[in-house]
Amino acid sequence: MSTRQVAMVMDLNKCLGCQTCTVACKTLWTRREGMGHMLWNTVNTQPGTGTPHGWETMGGGFADGEARPGHRPALDEYGRDWAFNHQDVFFGGDSKERLVPNGGAYGKGANHDEDTGAGEYPNSYYFYLPRICNHCTHPACLEACPRQAIGKREEDGIVLVDEGRCKGYRFCQEACPYKKIYFNEEEGVAQKCIFCFPRIDQGVTTACSRQCPGRVRFVGYLDDPAGPIHKLVNVHQVALPLHAEYGTQPNVYYVPPLSPPKLDPDGNPTDEPRIPTEYLVSLFGARVHEVLAKLEAERARVRDGGESELMDLLISRKWLDMFGPFTRHPREAQPVHFHPKRQPT
């Protein structure tokens, strides 16, 4: 058990699906050999099958407190890094040949069903769901590993793979119900989001949160009464874990998305939201109802000229207030070096 826990809250009402977070993470952490397909941060369109393809049906986690068997995703299920048909386009002799990315079995790679969503016009709908490792309080990956190669840091609960101990058995991939652990086939080790711990250690927030143009991501300690995480999770109680029923106690939380009203056949707004609330309940649990009602009520209060601490918090006019104690500029920190080379055994 860690003495403290860093956590993240993502406000899904503000996510643009721009993938800046994905790129920020990718360029910082996953440029070694064998990491081409790795996106420790993903943003998928919901409803959708996500990354890896169909991850919510792959098992793992805990059922009634017992470790539940899970599927080990193949590289194609994660989505391969794109390969292009440059040779055919530029040298194939067919002027009609067009540049096409090949992302593996599911076509576009990790973001294979981008902006597909669900529903019929004019009531079609979708929203974006960014995901990282949940740095769970009860990590199924850690508990599955026969090598004790996965640890949870005492000081902040960040879950890390010790690549020196990892032997590539991949039980962690099977056990993680969020399927947020990747396997480096070149190095034979499991790799995953590290919650930018070399930055966190120096008071700098994660790359995904700092780079987010939508001001979606809040970072801080769960028990810091002055920080945004404690306020959103514990005080206002509008941030919910994803698939809490998986039993791992994830430490990434989501403010569920409101949506415009569904239209009737005559084009008039109804009382139903465009995004079916029951779908959101399937992701974030039964408290979605009260959270959406609270968000609506607080919005109305501000619309009517009133004040709302919750709305001020979610709007995030002061950008650095989103990051708790992690407000240092990366320029002020020591350069990040996190390239542990595994000693083969």
Binding site: A67, P69, A140, E143, P146, R147, F171, E174, P344, T345
Partner: protein
């Protein structure tokens, strides 16, 4: 305990580093019984829950012969079960006690470690590892161990070789001295890795000719 596994002295080890060399026919193989590792010894609930209804360690017999020439030692193992390439490779480990009287089934202990030479089908090198208990194996002494493997239809033929003596703290093998030896075999095609394997249950006596 079953009859010792004899390691016969030969004049020249070099040709016998080839697992299909005809001279191996002169050295009768000993058939070693294997069994699945006990499910209860798997170190995590996840592994136990996942494998409780799934067969593993199905290989029942490993055929082994051994020779040395006073400088080097070689062991030829052959067994049924060549897997297609997949997530996990077929593999074999040879265990030798490093100190004390280690329990093979628990991969030794802090006071009684085991030295393993481990071959896997997707790599040329043999890895040298030391274990002080289940899930504890780490890089072992840098011994000059080699392997040559051949898939003969559905059957592996593998020769693992190393110098005699105890170079760099490796488990000792000496001409004219008996020691103990154990084996583990992983079927990669059945996703076998870590403690999910077949093993020789207990030590066998390995008797090296003088």
């Amino acid at each position: 305990m079953s009859a010792p596994l004899a390691s016969r002295r030969v004049a020249n080890l070099a040709p016998l580093l080839d697992p299909s060399h005809a001279d191996w026919e002169r050295h009768a193989a000993t058939r070693i019984a294997l069994a699945p590792t006990p499910l209860g010894l798997q170190p995590t609930p996840y592994v136990r829950n996942t494998w409780k209804d799934r067969p593993y360690g199905a290989l029942l017999a490993l055929d082994v012969a051994s020779v040395h020439d006073g400088r080097g030692w070689a062991l030829r193992a052959s067994w049924e079960g060549v897997s297609a390439p997949g997530d996990f490779p077929d593999a074999l480990a040879i265990a030798l006690p490093l100190a004390g009287r280690p329990v093979l089934a628990t991969m030794g202990s802090a006071e009684a470690p085991i030295h393993y030479l481990r071959w896997r089908a997707d790599r040329e090198a043999v890895s040298s590892q030391i274990a002080h208990g289940i899930g504890s194996s780490a890089a072992g002494p840098p011994i000059a161990a080699h392997a040559a493997a051949r898939a003969a239809g559905t059957r592996w033929q593998l020769v693992v070789s190393r110098p005699l003596g105890a170079p760099h703290g490796a488990a000792a093998l000496q001409a004219g001295v008996s020691t103990q030896i154990g084996f583990a075999v992983w079927c990669g095609g059945n996703d076998e890795r870590a403690g999910i394997k077949a093993f020789s249950i207990d030590w066998l006596e390995l008797a090296l000719d003088a």
